[in-house]
């Protein structure tokens, strides 16, 4: 009896030792040299694996960043400058600075502004709806309102406003990864610079139809009249295909265009409410 137990222990222990030696040999023979910096970088990454950087996940990003000698073209929108400085520190190179971005919904076709012209009762996803037809309003460009962007957001930063039927972005949660923008079949969502204290001016419409047609479909549509472009001192506004676009790198947030727009298609957000006489705070 005791003999059996002893032999069992001896055999198993021996087997363990032999196999451990085999494993050791294999490990030394087939050792993959991996840059320890990859692990280090991965540790400082946000770990969201959102794909906003263009890679499959944080590890893939770290791998690519280490392999490439510069950080040009590698940017983690979620971590922003803070994380990128750390990554640059690990790699011993200079960080590429990039202004933080935020998702902006460029459609103001609320139920009031843009009345429904038909009823859609198919599958409730924007992608399918867009493939079937132009949508249940007269505007073939605007938000379809099924919330593909909400489903795409990993950070819970977008929600549908039941009152307007449009998605609302929570600036504090949005990381600018761009998942919503990719999920939107109508390309309504754009990534724009967050701006100082989140202040932004943008055209909340992408309707390329002629003014009269666009206006008929939606009372808040950009009609491409070009008044905003005329009033802009920074040359930041261009009107192409009957729709105005404000270049966020040139815009100085003077808000002159907002007052000029006849349909209210230009939105200024997060500006402090000031007494009307003094607007110096916005002109930087």
């Amino acid at each position: 009896m005791t003999n059996t137990i002893i032999w069992t222990i001896v055999v198993l222990a021996g087997l363990g030792l032999v196999l451990a030696f085999v494993l050791y040999l294999i490990a030394t023979k087939f050792k993959v040299e991996e840059d320890p910096r990859i692990d280090e970088i991965e540790k400082v990454m946000p770990g969201a694996n959102c794909g906003g950087c263009g890679y499959a996940g944080c590890r893939a990003f770290a791998d690519a960043a280490v392999k490439d000698t510069t950080l040009e073209g590698h940017f983690c929108p979620v971590g922003g400058d803070e994380v990128m400085t750390k990554v640059a520190g690990i790699l011993g190179i200079e960080a590429v600075k990039k202004a933080p971005q935020v998702a902006v919904v460029r459609c103001n076709g609320t139920c009031e502004n843009r009345p429904k012209t038909n009823i859609y009762d198919g599958a409730q996803t924007c992608r399918i709806k867009a493939a079937l037809y132009s949508g249940d309003t007269a505007c073939p460009y605007g938000c379809l309102g099924c919330g593909d962007c909400v489903a795409a957001c990993q950070f819970g930063a977008i929600s549908m406003d039941p009152q307007t039927g449009l998605p609302v972005v929570d600036d504090s949660k949005c990381t600018g990864c761009g998942a919503c923008s990719k999920a939107c079949p109508k390309h309504v969502i754009e990534l724009r610079n967050k701006g100082p204290r989140s202040m932004r001016v943008f055209v909340s419409c992408i309707n390329k139809d002629k003014g009269a047609v666009a206006r008929k479909a939606c009372s808040a549509a950009c009609i491409g009249c070009g008044k905003c472009a005329k009033v802009c001192a920074q040359d930041a506004i261009t009107v192409q295909d009957n729709v105005a676009y404000i270049d966020f790198t040139k815009c100085k947030l003077c808000k002159k265009c907002v007052a000029e727009c006849p349909t209210g298609a230009i939105h200024a957000v997060n500006f402090p409410v000031l007494p009307p006489k003094k607007e110096a705070g916005n002109e930087q």
Binding site: G122, A131, L132
Partner: protein, 443 residues
């Protein structure tokens, strides 16, 4: 395999074809066929005659477009189609009804076919004939099999398996002999192969008329075959199975099994093109539905490019109880999002459906009953495909042959939980087809 048996509801079957008057303005779409859109060859302000070429093919798979009316070209530009998407249209203000030279407008039947195969194909191409069964695939391409492929059997699709539609049935009764000559022309274009005309059993008058015409005209190797009434009997692959007892394998074309399938309305268009030099500028359309009274159902011979709103107005407006207007059959047709849209070559109906007949129920949960798999005529598993489409699992979707889906809608029709099966599957199919296409290009 599979299939469903919806009530055929052919209310307009006894209504003779009436000629629809000319509209004031015709809007001719440049994307009336499968493949590349046509390129306009007229300018604003030009005077065009009926049957004059106004657009050229934009690629190999494309077709000529002819003016359906005579008048002045008012504008060329984007206009919303049925689904509200912008498509280039040529707008023509109708002035009179002057036909281009060389078009034979007499009603005499011409049975001699003195042309060679190439001449026939050229004539069909020049007249812009496309398949009128729904897919609007250019006919001259289909009648010209790739080198090495031989057509053994020409199948004429007279199934008209979609409920409500009666335009094919009416032309089979009223223009029987012309159709048979058209069939013989296509047969000649395919080097004289065997031909089977497949008609569903719920149209006995059409079967008798077609068989009598075949016997009378005496063309060889044309046979009329009675098919079971079943949806989608008129699907290309289903028809080949029913007539030739052969299954077209996944990823293959009908010609790989030696079959060429053409619609009956296409046969008529081919007759008019080859024997009368008349381009494809008219087609037959049914105005019907379950929310429209029996005395307001019509079959019209319309000029392509007539706005739907004109047809609706002429036939007495939209009935009050209508919840949805569909262009095409109730199973595969498209809901009309824009009634100002113009009719195209493939338009086959204006269908008014009531709320009860058309609006979907709130989707529930899949209860794994398997009815969709029973109904699928292609032997797919729609419930599985739905799940894979939702998960966007492209490799698995391809493995489960989503690209074989013919989008007939049997799965959705049979689903007791009212799941939007086809909506998702169509989406997944599109993506998988894109992947396969890009892979083939890379090779």
């Amino acid at each position: 395999m599979g299939g469903i048996h919806p009530c055929d509801s052919k209310f307009a079957r006894e209504c003779p074809i009436e000629v629809l008057p000319l509209p004031n303005t015709a809007y001719v779409s440049m994307a009336q066929h499968l493949g590349a859109p046509a390129k306009p060859v007229v300018n604003v302000g030009d005077y065009v005659k009926v049957g004059q070429v106004i657009a050229e093919p934009g690629g190999f798979i494309s077709a000529f477009v002819h003016s359906p009316v005579s008048g002045t070209v008012k504008s060329i530009g984007p206009r919303a189609d049925l689904a509200g998407n912008s498509v280039t249209h040529i707008e023509i203000t109708v002035q009179d009804d002057e036909w281009a030279d060389g078009i034979d407008l007499s009603k005499d039947l011409v049975t001699d076919i003195p042309y060679t195969r190439e001449e026939i194909l050229d004539k069909i191409k020049a007249c812009g004939v496309v398949g009128l069964g729904g897919a609007t695939f250019p006919t001259h391409v289909k009648l010209n099999p790739a080198p090495g492929k031989v057509a053994e059997c020409l199948i004429i699709n007279c199934a008209e398996c979609e409920p409500f539609l009666t335009s094919d049935y009416r032309i089979m009764l009223e223009r029987t002999k012309e159709i048979i000559v058209g069939v013989a022309i296509m047969q000649k274009a395919l080097n004289g192969c065997r031909c089977v005309i497949g008609i569903e059993e719920n149209k006995p008058e059409a079967i008798d008329a077609m068989a009598a015409a075949v016997a009378q005209l005496g063309f060889p190797d044309i046979e009329v075959k009675t098919l079971k009434k079943k949806y989608p009997q008129g699907g290309e692959k289903q028809l080949i199975d029913a007539v030739m007892h052969r299954q077209v394998r996944s990823g293959c074309l009908p010609i790989d099994e030696g079959a060429v399938v053409q619609n009956v309305a296409t046969a008529l268009a081919v007759y008019e093109a080859v024997q009368k030099n008349k381009p494809l500028i008219t087609n037959t359309l049914t105005v019907t539905g379950d929310s429209i009274p029996a005395n307001r159902q019509h079959n019209y011979l319309f000029r392509i490019g007539t706005p739907l709103s004109f047809i609706i107005e002429y036939s007495g407006g939209v009935p009050q109880t209508t919840a949805k207007i569909i262009s095409g059959g109730p199973m595969m047709g498209k809901a009309v999002a824009n009634i100002d849209a113009a009719t195209v070559k493939g338009s086959s109906s204006v269908l008014y459906l009531s709320r009860k007949a058309t609006l979907r129920d709130e989707p529930g949960q899949c209860i794994r009953c398997g009815r969709c798999a029973d109904a699928c005529p292609m032997g797919l598993e729609p419930f599985l495909l739905l799940r894979l489409c939702k998960a966007a699992d492209m490799p698995q979707l391809e493995e489960n042959a989503v690209q074989d889906c013919i989008e007939c809608g049997c799965c959705m029709y049979s689903c007791p939980s009212a799941l939007p099966l086809l909506d998702y599957i169509r989406q997944g199919k599109g993506q998988v087809m894109g992947i396969i296409k890009s892979r083939n290009i890379k090779k």
